[in-house]
């Protein structure tokens, strides 16, 4: 039976190995999701036994790269949740525009779609030249993709619709050139991006930001880990800085939430 190919204890064993051998701590990830990702990979790669899978994950560096890429979720979109981007455009970025310099952290940026969306907004508001976008992810291979600014062309129709629905008024295709099956985004957009690995579980605050975007990352963490990460974000936000989460994520049950005020209907909070 596929779904019970690996049981709960084996998942724990595997994740402990991963921590010990590779230094990545997934033990506080939401169990059901990570179990599903691991079982999926095990089935996909046709392992004959858990012992073989465990040995490969532990000792094969090349395979571990694949493991890391496959068990973390790297599904993302440009201008995902258009009303969220509309609120960034109309409510948040104009405030940040009054500062001499804007530092933004896109935490868990995956292949970069949200960082590029943000760069487009900043460019249209004439703020990109005084901004820096730090785009980080646990996974080095997705960052390599993000740096290139290449996205599959067949997704661009959907992205373009999202852009228009978020209040974009330019011709979206002016931001990229089509190259066979890929869209190459303009280099002016990633000039102000800094890509780096950062593990929200184990790494510390590395700068002070006016805006932190971390969308659909925390849903994969358990409550305790979510609270640790909120604490990390709090320590990394300037006073009056903004924290933006995914549409199903919330600061509400974190004790530190009192120090934040939510903006209207979107999942955006301002540090008081």
């Amino acid at each position: 039976m596929i779904s019970e190919a690996i049981n709960n204890e084996q998942i724990e064993t595997l994740l402990s190995d991963v921590l010990e051998a590779h230094g990545y701590d997934f033990l506080e990830y939401s169990h059901a999701s990570i179990k599903r990702r691991i079982t999926r990979l095990y089935t996909l790669d046709n392992f004959v036994s858990f012992a073989e899978f465990r040995y490969t994950v532990k000792s094969d560096k090349q395979y571990f790269k694949r493991f890391l890429e496959e068990i973390t979720v790297n599904v993302t979109e440009m201008f995902r949740d258009p009303s969220f981007y509309k609120s960034l455009r109309n409510d948040v970025l104009p405030v940040l525009g009054t500062y001499p310099f804007i530092r933004i952290w896109v935490a868990g940026c995956s292949t970069g779609e949200e960082a590029y969306s943000l760069a487009i907004l900043l460019k249209e508001l004439n703020l990109l030249q005084k901004s820096l976008i730090y785009a980080t992810d646990i996974n080095p291979s997705v960052l390599e993709k993000a740096k290139k600014g290449l996205f599959p062309l067949n997704y661009l129709k959907g992205y373009s619709e999202n852009y228009v629905n978020s209040g974009g008024i330019k011709d979206f295709s002016s931001y990229y050139s089509a190259n066979y099956s890929l869209a190459k985004f303009d280099d002016s957009l990633n000039e102000k991006m800094i890509f780096s690995t950062h593990n929200l579980v184990s790494d510390h605050s590395f700068n002070e930001f006016q805006l932190i975007l971390c969308r659909n990352v925390l849903i994969y963490f358990d409550k305790e880990l979510q609270h640790k990460v909120f604490h990390l974000f709090d320590n990394s936000l300037d006073k009056l800085g903004y924290l933006a989460l995914g549409s199903k994520e919330s600061l509400d049950f974190w004790p530190g939430a009192k120090q934040f005020k939510r903006l209207k209907l979107e999942k955006i909070w301002r540090k008081l």
Binding site: I2, S3, E4, S30, A32, R37, I219
Partner: protein, 194 residues
Amino acid sequence: MAQALTPEKCSALIIGGSAGSLDVLLEIFPDLKKEINFPIILVTHRKSGNDSLLTDLLQSRTGLKVREAEEKEPVLAGNVYITPADYHLLIEDDKTISLDYSEKINYSRPSIDVTFQSAAEVFKNGLVCILLSGSNADGVEGLKTVNNLGGFVVIQNPNTAIMPYMPQQAVNNVKPHTILDSFEMAEFINKLIR
């Protein structure tokens, strides 16, 4: 072999459906008893955007509390949880909800398979799943897991479903405990009350 028409127990009920399932839900909900003492989780394929529409439609037809599922919330008896558009819904061992934005399964997010499988591992023989009308094969693999782990499988009669493909695929590939027409479903669910 004669199959039992009602399960011995029900710790949770999950209803999965796609095209043509809304009519069935609208038919079922007014007749559900308020004494329902297990959580009901709905996984339906729909476009993202007007999330509150389905919640409002169903809430207006039942005394049970209908809400869109929030991540990490516990599933409680007598509540109806609607899977948010564009997220998979999984159940944790402590019977809380996890949402997941990973790849679509069967071209679908939420995928009925994902929730059926995840819930089957947690509720085992306390799980009751109903698969309704639809035009793809989502839910079939999930029902296999539910069956294997001792849960109770109900499929809408494909002959009377608006879109017969999904329930037909299930009937062809999974041995259901019972096949029901839409008008029989509310009564079936009310009988799960213990």
